[in-house]
Symmetry: C2
Subunit: 152 residues, 2 copies
Amino acid sequence: MKKDLPEDTVFELEKRLRQISVAIKKRGRKILTNYPITPSQFIALQWIIDDQDLTIGELAKKIGLAFSTTTDLINRMEANGLVQRNKDEKDRRIVRIRALAKGERIIKEVIDERREYLGRILQSFNLEQTEQLTQLLSLLYDTMHRENERDD
Amino acid sequence: MKKDLPEDTVFELEKRLRQISVAIKKRGRKILTNYPITPSQFIALQWIIDDQDLTIGELAKKIGLAFSTTTDLINRMEANGLVQRNKDEKDRRIVRIRALAKGERIIKEVIDERREYLGRILQSFNLEQTEQLTQLLSLLYDTMHRENERDD
């Protein structure tokens, strides 16, 4: 049941979402210059906090790096005091990565900075526009989420 | 003139935008497994195509890497046939990076895949919702763009 969605609209939506995401991220990352953390470590840290108790193999899949590269990355992050390896409580042969307080603080500050920026931008919106945008983005995400679950 | 924008709304908006961006990116990157290109090379390639004729120093700033690391990255991308170094036509001492056909093809395929995915998701939206979302995101981006120009 394919509807007639104009191709231009999809082009524009994809572009807008990409531009907005880049602009918000750029603001958040300003914070990172105050911390000794590389962009790869930052990306891994976000996954480790969002998805909790990932194994190195699971993390490698999420960030799209080889298992050996991901192991090196985790070694450096462990030395940097950002994460630690924990043995799984049910199966001691499985090692899971958990963020330490320092890692959690960095991510929190980056997200706070993004929110502050977005809040400043939204001062130009009226309340109705803000509510509409929130509803539409929630609907968009829920639809993506449902489709992804169907694919898995 | 600070308005009473509920903090929860900003939290939700930031989260939705982040989740959507991750979901779309993940779809686009499926394509990359077919190409010999690393995530760092992919990020650099996007900037090189979007901003055209960047110098290595300008690119280093955009991607947040050191000048020497960026030089290494460009060397590998040049060996990989993705980009080439060109002398600036007005000032031959300046070297600018330009994407080659292979680099442009990879980025185009990734963006095509993202669009296809987004178009599929938008089948669940009615036309009014799609138009509203496009308008609100354009407004959001234009406001960000204006604020960034004021900051520069």
